[in-house]
Amino acid sequence: MDDLIEQFLLESRELIHQASADFARLAERPTDSGSVESAFRAIHTLKGSVAVFSFDPAERVLHRAEDLLELGRKGTVLLGRAELDGLVGCLDQVDRWIEEVERGGTLGDNADVLAAVAIARLDAPGGGASVPVIAPPGPGAPDRDSAKWAELLVQRQAASLETAGSLLTAFRYVPAADCFFLGDDPLAIAAAVPDLVTLEILPVAGEWPSADEIEPFTCISALEGLSGAPVEDVRAAFRLVADQVSVTVVDPLAGETADADSGKRRIADSVRVNVEHLDALADRLGELLVGLNGLGPIAAAIGAVDAGVAARMRAADGELQRIGNSLRGAVEAVRSVSLEPTLRRLPRIAREVAASMGKDIAFSISGQKVVADRQIAEGLYEPLLHLLRNALDHGIESSDRRVEAGKPPQGRISLRLKRDGETIEALLEDDGGGIDTAAVRRIAVERGLLDEVSAAQLSEKGAAGLIFAPGFSTAETITSLSGRGVGMNAVKVAIEAMRGTIEVDSRLGQGTVFRMRLPANALTTRLLIIEAGGDRYAVALDQVVETVRMSNAELLPVGNGTACVLRGRTVPVLGLGALLGCADASMPHAKLLVARSRGETVAFRVEAFGERINTMVRPPRGLLKATPGIMGSALLGDGGVVLVLDLEELAA
């Protein structure tokens, strides 16, 4: 693809995302002039970009949107729900055109008709007509010329912003000249802005007065600064002097490259790297780590011959392990990307799908700025998309049914992401009808997935988890979106391929939440080496809840199997060797590996626990791929290869 088009696609998506975020803020605060200003700039810039490529229908749509935003900036029109619907509709259309351009280089068929439809939505009654202004624009609505202060501020502070990768809130506080007599301390007020990145004090008149001219009790300063906090939080810090403050949003990385003469702006400190190079780097790192893991056993062997050399070797091994871990962290950082680009299409898709079903929903996302390895970020999109579509199709009821059930007519779906150490947690929650676990149990029995007794014994959570079983679907009609019985299982398989887990919790009539946990880094996995059936294996530590040692007498026969009591609950015990088709050796004590499978706790009996290592796990290939219970293989430092077991699959 042409470099110019690639750049256009990249920048257009960022501008669309910016404008979407501004519209979302305006939906909650229609008088937020900072968001109007920011949206105007994004749409204006986007219009310029599409014009370069002569995408005329897109230019017409954006021009009309820009006109409406201009009226909003001037305070002639209040951008209420109707106006925002029209603006969001325009943005969605442009977003769809961006995808068309990526596919085929043009806006696709019927672009003129689609443009006319989008413009008509803007011009519809209530969408663009002048309405009485409810709130005065105030000083927070800078006109076009004074908006330049924010640009100049970013220029001056470019050196301080080199680590700022996201939008910042810029403020300009010009205290009243007599504010000292009112008890104000503008310096203290501005210094209390949350998440302050920079703060400058400037003479309002352009230069400071001389020693003879200065009036000590007249405020002659303007304070300009940048904060990492959202606009609302910055405004809150100035709430007692709101009439003296202008606030706007800036993107420190946007804009032209440095002026060669003045050098006052910086080129963004980033480099584009081919992903193949990143993958090759990861492979070499993996080989290095395997090699490093081999030094420990060598040092142990030397210890039997020469203790002094062994000690020096152990010291060197320790240092190399430290450097290896540091290198791993550096490579992981290079490969880490924000989840934002992965998720930015979801709101538009949610709107379109809901509209196609005649359902009214509000979809919110939080935590998009969480970073993860690019493989994880890319792999998360399809499962999330399917879960979202499933929530829209099966979860959220029609407005009429919701009202009958005493719920608000608008359904709510939320996606929350957060990083917890080395784990990404994603929660997709809806307030729809929930999962009918009685129906799920019945269908599972009908499909032969389990017998009636087992189905009845499952907990509510365990029963809900049956939706992840292959071939399971409770949908009465297969829609174009979901209900083919492959969706939920495919979601689970996709999540587990990234060494993640997915669980579901649901309450009938109230809603459903899907909880996914994934490793933030795809490079290496922390493994525990174990022995079972007379051989060595590995298990991923994030699958292990705990390891337990107990006397054989504490293992109790239950039916045809064995169980133990852990923390007051009865937990089934499975012999890992037997599961792997080998004999379980009889041991003086029971060593148990406790894990979770389908929402239930299970204990695996092993013969020994070995070391913990951090290494790369190769996905299963060939015969191994078809073998259940195998997640992959790993190379040990002593040159041995171990199979990495999938405990959840083995227990199933």
């Binding site: 001056r156 000292f180 310096l187 203290a188 703060l199 200065i214 000590p216």
Partner: protein, 82 residues
């Protein structure tokens, strides 16, 4: 005394509030050395900051305990704006 003249410098001690701006201005107008010591400064009001920015004395006594507001003023005094 929050603004006091000592040997070789004007000292800003403790919490310097709006009233201290005039004391500081008088002291600086009369001072030959134009040095301000903020080693024992705990707080600086905007009015005091303005006097420092307008008269640009040499500020000494910066330490770990220097309040953030004073650091902002020192940075502003050292900056060159377009």
């Amino acid at each position: 005394m929050t603004v006091r003249t000592g040997p070789g410098a004007i000292y800003l001690d403790g919490r310097c509030l709006a009233d201290d701006a005039d004391h500081l201005l008088v002291a600086l107008r009369q001072s030959a050395s134009q040095v301000v010591n903020i080693e024992r400064l705990e707080r600086m009001h905007m009015a005091v900051a303005q006097v420092l920015l307008a008269l640009r004395p040499t500020i000494i006594g910066l330490s770990d305990k220097t309040p953030a507001s004073a650091r902002i003023v020192i940075a502003a005094a050292n900056a060159e704006y377009a």
